[in-house]
Symmetry: C2
């Protein structure tokens, strides 16, 4: 940290809310070049004391549920109230050229021109862990730049929900006004992650069905979920199109945050997340060193095949690989 | 592997079905002494080609649901059909002196005297990962000893369900004949792991309520679960006490296995499990090396606190720790 290694005025400009520098800083964080990585870490370290003061909200729902329209309506609502909102995303399937979520800013035409909003598509990446790490860091940069509401979007069909729930204070799930899961297309367990469920498209012909869906999920959640202290997961119909229910969603988010701040649940969740962040980074760093090691790389395919074929117990294979990383390297030094 | 380092006749005796040696071998696997660990790994490697031929069944349910009674009835049923059953457990909370599950063999009085059954309480351990690793290895030893049905019990109130589902071919959940979760005491997401749900105590006064509970959960699962190809999760009332429904459970297990063998789902699940087994072992091995490293151990508390307090970004903390493990060691060699 003695040599920050990034343009020395970036931290200062970021803290003053400079959006152009924020965008550049996020690009730096997303870079895979190791000199960029060093710069990104130094920048994050420099602004770290000014982070953590936002309300971090995860939001998920399958394609077609109306996430973009909801985020646009929600973003306009909270910026009208004087907040500044950053919208980030975690989608491991997105490609650099036109991510599948948030990639097309025209989907949020009004919000993307709103000076109190910052919208950024999912970083590209082949692993969920990698994408989630970058988004977690971008979140800190947005907080340093003064955004006090962070929305982290994900796509509702995979493991990314757990990653997003593990970096946010509250997890929202958007559902369609329809019954079973074939229509919803949701993976097992995702509904149960939600701190709040919103049944979108509760307008026009679908209004009545949205109400029925909300009641059905309310009942199902009551049956399957362990009751959380003081909090029953709300299942609310809303319409991103007409804006109905968007204010109610924001009110409930604040109530959830106030409740958590009061009973310590908010602080405990943040502390747990910091612990798992360090752990994730430790394992990622170790994994990277394993993958970069020439000897390990040579050995890995044969070990993997032997374990999958039942010819080699995994503990022995693992030990061989780790020995190659640690002892082999030492041997070379002798 | 050139020097097996365990009594040379153990592998042979194990393969001949010697129960006394099986018990000793499991004890070896559970030992934390590093010479025992070496011997255990060599033994597993020696018998590895003779493993994998059983039906591996995970079973969970909260205390009071009647798991022991069910396992006893189920074990008697399958041994009457000519099978040999091993009952293992994963319970990270169990202590060496009298584990909380399977520890008290008197709970399975008949089965524990059955020569075609082998019952073993959960290994002691402070982490779920550690306990699960030992149980996975014990499962291989039981298979080598000719047990063709393996039941892995867990306790239904924590993360251990995921670990058990990740080492078995099919995951069963026992429920009580009662409604909401306050009564069931289940953690979020556990119901959704199940490949089959059994509502136990469907006898006497509770018979009618058990049927209602089964119908309720059937409906809730249909609503929340993504449909699996060709398999709808059965929700069946049963009575471990009278034995009613136990044969049906076994029939369905075989149907699930036949289906999976036919459409490749069984083989795919096993392959995925082997992959995650190697990965678990790799991370466990790396973690152990980190923990054993003097420099890392000295640094860890301060790094953890700085990350939790928001003073240090986790990627930097992680890199410092891994550098201490890899580079520090190399530097010492120079």
């Amino acid at each position: 940290m003695s040599d920050p290694a990034f343009p020395s005025d970036w931290a200062e400009k970021l803290l003053s809310g400079d959006r152009r520098i924020l965008a550049k800083a996020v690009t730096l964080v997303e870079s895979t070049r190791s000199d960029h990585r060093d710069q990104a870490e130094a920048l994050i370290a420099a602004v770290m004391p000014h982070t953590g003061k936002s309300t971090r909200i995860g939001i998920s729902g399958v394609p077609g549920v109306g996430k973009s329209t909801f985020i646009e309506a929600f973003g306009q609502h909270v910026t009208d109230l004087g907040h500044r909102i950053a919208v980030l995303a975690v989608d491991p399937s997105s490609k650099r050229a036109g991510g599948s979520i948030l990639g097309d800013k025209t989907r949020m035409e009004v919000l993307s021109r709103n000076p109190a909003a910052f919208i950024r598509p999912s970083p590209a990446g082949s692993t969920l862990g990698g994408v989630a790490r970058r988004t977690r860091e971008s979140m800190l940069l947005c907080e340093a730049a003064g955004f006090d509401v962070i929305l982290v979007e994900t796509v509702g069909v995979g493991q990314s929900e757990t990653a997003v729930a593990d970096m946010t204070d509250m997890f929202l799930l958007l559902l369609l006004p329809a019954g079973g899961d074939e229509l919803q297309g949701l993976k097992k367990g995702i509904v149960e992650l939600a701190d709040m469920v919103l049944v979108n498209k509760a307008d026009g012909d679908l209004a009545a069905q949205a109400k029925r869906t909300a009641a059905d999920y309310h009942g199902a959640l009551r049956l399957l979920n362990k009751v959380q202290a003081d909090w029953t997961v709300p299942v609310l119909p809303c319409s991103a199109l007409t804006g109905q229910g968007v204010d109610e969603a924001w009110t409930r988010i604040q109530a959830f945050r106030d409740l958590g701040t009061g009973n310590g649940g908010f602080q405990a969740r943040r502390r747990d997340q910091a612990r798992s962040w360090l752990w994730d980074e430790l394992l990622a760093e170790l994994t990277q060193r394993l993958r970069q090691d020439d000897t390990v790389r040579d050995m890995l395919p044969a070990v993997q095949k032997a374990v999958a074929d039942g010819d080699l117990p995994a503990p022995i294979g693992a030990r061989q690989l780790v020995d190659a990383l640690l002892l082999g390297r030492n041997a070379l030094q002798k």
